[in-house]
């Protein structure tokens, strides 16, 4: 089966610093790909290159066989890429419903979609993440967990094929985090999205991911099933430092 997204030799420099060094991987339709790495490993830079925030210096990105390396952000969204932010970035002056409505209107092109149709869609996504009762609250007045859920609804409303989730657990308490994981699983089932999941919390990815890619200093360390990656010596070394065996 052809991959949904294939990344080949992705490279990104910031001045003299090599942030991403020839990273290659593939994502297949319907899977959940975990993406891990220590702080400053270049995880977010990879996502930024894939979603079009930063232009890749070298390498190729293909989505469904279409080369999107030089495409603008909104064109990538129309092809089916969506992302959530590490720190929620709502539209502060819009209500929860209208924020989702905006992305439902401007996301992937749907033929003959009227304003009312978009409103129905937006209502559905808002209900899915459990914010229907808060639909008329301005986004700036929502709590942190609700903002995360609003982000998810906004990303889903663009009807993506591939959803980039950037550290959804950061700042949530265990109960909320559990809900968030459940929500992403349900989204996978109901909307048929493929998930690219960056996370610090390993326990979450061990449970949810089908495959994990680990990077450090911008270069790929390991790729495989969660068990393989966790038992990989390079990965352990990247997290714990060289000579960790002396203390183990």
């Amino acid at each position: 089966m052809a991959p949904l997204l294939s990344v080949r030799n992705l490279t990104k420099h910031f001045g003299g610093i090599l942030a991403v060094d020839k990273v290659s991987f593939e994502i297949h339709e319907g899977e959940t790909l975990g993406f891990i790495g220590p702080n400053g490993a270049g995880k977010s830079t990879v996502v930024n290159c894939l979603t079009g925030y930063l232009a890749a210096d070298e390498g190729e990105i293909e989505l469904n066989g279409v080369n999107i390396t030089r495409m603008k952000r909104h064109e990538r969204v129309h092809l089916g890429l969506a992302r959530t932010y590490q720190i929620p970035r709502p539209f502060p002056e819009l209500t929860a419903l209208t924020s989702v409505l905006a992305s439902s209107i401007s996301g992937k092109k749907r033929i003959n979609q009227s304003f009312q149709d978009a409103m129905y869609d937006a209502t559905h996504y808002l209900e899915f993440v459990g914010l229907f009762s808060k639909r008329n609250i301005l986004a700036r007045d929502l709590t942190f967990y609700e903002l995360r859920m609003l982000e998810l609804a906004r990303a889903l409303a663009t009807t993506p094929k591939l959803l980039f989730i950037d550290e959804v657990m950061a700042g949530l308490n265990p109960g909320e985090a559990k809900n968030a994981i459940k929500m992403i699983r349900r989204a996978k089932e109901e909307f048929g999205v493929t998930v690219f999941w960056i996370e610090h919390v390993m326990a979450v990815l061990m449970e949810a991911a089908d495959r994990i890619v680990a990077i450090n200093y911008g270069a790929k360390l390991a790729e495989g099933t969660p068990d393989e990656v966790v038992n990989n010596d390079d990965v352990i070394e990247a997290y714990l430092g060289r000579g960790w065996r002396n203390y183990a």
């Binding site: 979603t51 952000r73 970035r89 539209f91 002056e93 905006a102 401007s106 992937k108 008329n136």
Partner: protein, 346 residues
């Protein structure tokens, strides 16, 4: 003893054991047809008793008709333009120069005024992509001031010191008073046309997209909005609408001088119309326009020499006690009735 009590949504008046309640339901006085009828009927008694009021009405309508496209532009580009009067200058000078040179009437000069305003806007539209924040404010602020200098430098063309005279008037029925009344109606019609168009746009899906851009450009881009296209269209369309006002001014006064419209004092008035009406609410712009025009008229008539000082002070006080403008009083009660407003960013 009469006791009055102001609750959140009602005023309660008590007299002895009796009690009256008056619900403050803003929805009732937001009836556009009622206000349109008042605005169209008001000039008739004024025509017989107080012709001066018609003059104030015309300036109020024109202030509102400049502030409304500016509101559209501010929301659609996500930036505060401090020099919309540049396009008044472009439209006005085009109409004035063509009318004087070829003796053309207002209908002949109209397409050219619109065209030059649109071309000027297209020429400067890359600003909305390149500059943001303070830089955008400074650049847009400079444009009309530079144009003002140009009118003085090339004074043989623009007559920067005396102004251009002898423009064909907007209407000529032979009776000056009737001309005045008709122009009053024309300005009201122009204002309502702008109100209708801009309100329609802001309430549509495009208005929502503009509101998203106004709130957070980056995020709007990442949900699939082609931000550059939307910003340029909003900028050019709104500038062209402002350019039309220049055409109106030139033919209305039969004279046009850049020094009247291009300096900052005129811009300040427009900005206050925008802010006092309510942060870029289109209906608020109309309220703000009438408020400012009538306040100005009363000040000039009764305050004499200290008027230039008092006018900004009163407006400053109003901006402090009504940070969201007059329309904000309404919005605070029911923000679920969605309308985009400007989000002032650093």
């Amino acid at each position: 003893m009469v006791e009055t009590e102001l609750k959140r949504d009602r005023v309660i008046i008590r007299l002895g054991t009796k009690k009256w309640e008056w619900t403050l339901e803003p929805r009732y006085w937001r009836n556009t047809l009622m206000w349109a009828a008042i605005l169209f009927l008001l000039p008739i008694p004024c025509y017989f008793f107080l012709p001066g009021i018609i003059n104030t009405m015309i300036s109020a309508n024109i202030y509102a008709a400049i502030a409304m496209p500016l509101a559209l532009m501010t929301i659609g580009t996500g930036r505060m333009n401090f020099g919309p009067q540049f396009y008044i200058g472009v439209g006005g000078y085009t109409a004035a120069l063509l009318s004087i040179a070829f003796g053309w009437g207002p209908l002949m000069t109209l397409p050219f005024a619109l065209l030059t305003a649109m071309i000027a806007a297209l020429l400067f539209s890359p600003l909305v992509i390149m500059a943001r924040g303070l830089y955008y404010v400074l650049l847009t602020l400079l444009l009309p001031l530079v144009f003002l200098e140009v009118t003085f430098i090339y004074t043989d063309i623009f007559k920067g010191d005396t102004g251009l005279f002898g423009i064909v008037p907007l209407l000529n029925t032979g009776n000056a008073k009737i001309n005045f009344l008709l122009i009053g109606y024309l300005s009201t019609a122009l204002m309502f046309a702008y109100l209708w168009i801009i309100n329609k746009v802001l309430k549509s899906r495009y208005g929502l997209i503009m509101a998203a851009i106004n709130d957070d450009e980056e995020v709007a881009h990442s949900i699939g909005v082609n931000i550059n296209k939307v910003k340029i269209i909003a900028f050019v369309a709104a500038s062209t609408m402002v350019g039309l006002i220049g055409w109106f001014y030139a033919h209305y006064f039969s004279s046009f001088a850049g020094i009247t419209y291009l300096p900052l004092t005129f811009m300040l008035k427009i900005l206050l119309v925008l802010m006092i009406g309510g942060r870029a609410q289109v209906f608020g712009c109309v309220v703000g326009g009438y408020f400012i025009a009538f306040l100005e008229m009363l000040m000039i008539r009764f305050m004499g020499p200290i008027q230039p000082l008092l006018f900004p002070i009163i407006l400053l006080i109003l901006l402090f006690i009504l940070p969201e403008g007059l329309f904000g009083l309404y919005r605070k009660r029911r923000y679920r009735e969605y309308l985009p407003t400007i989000h002032v960013r650093r």
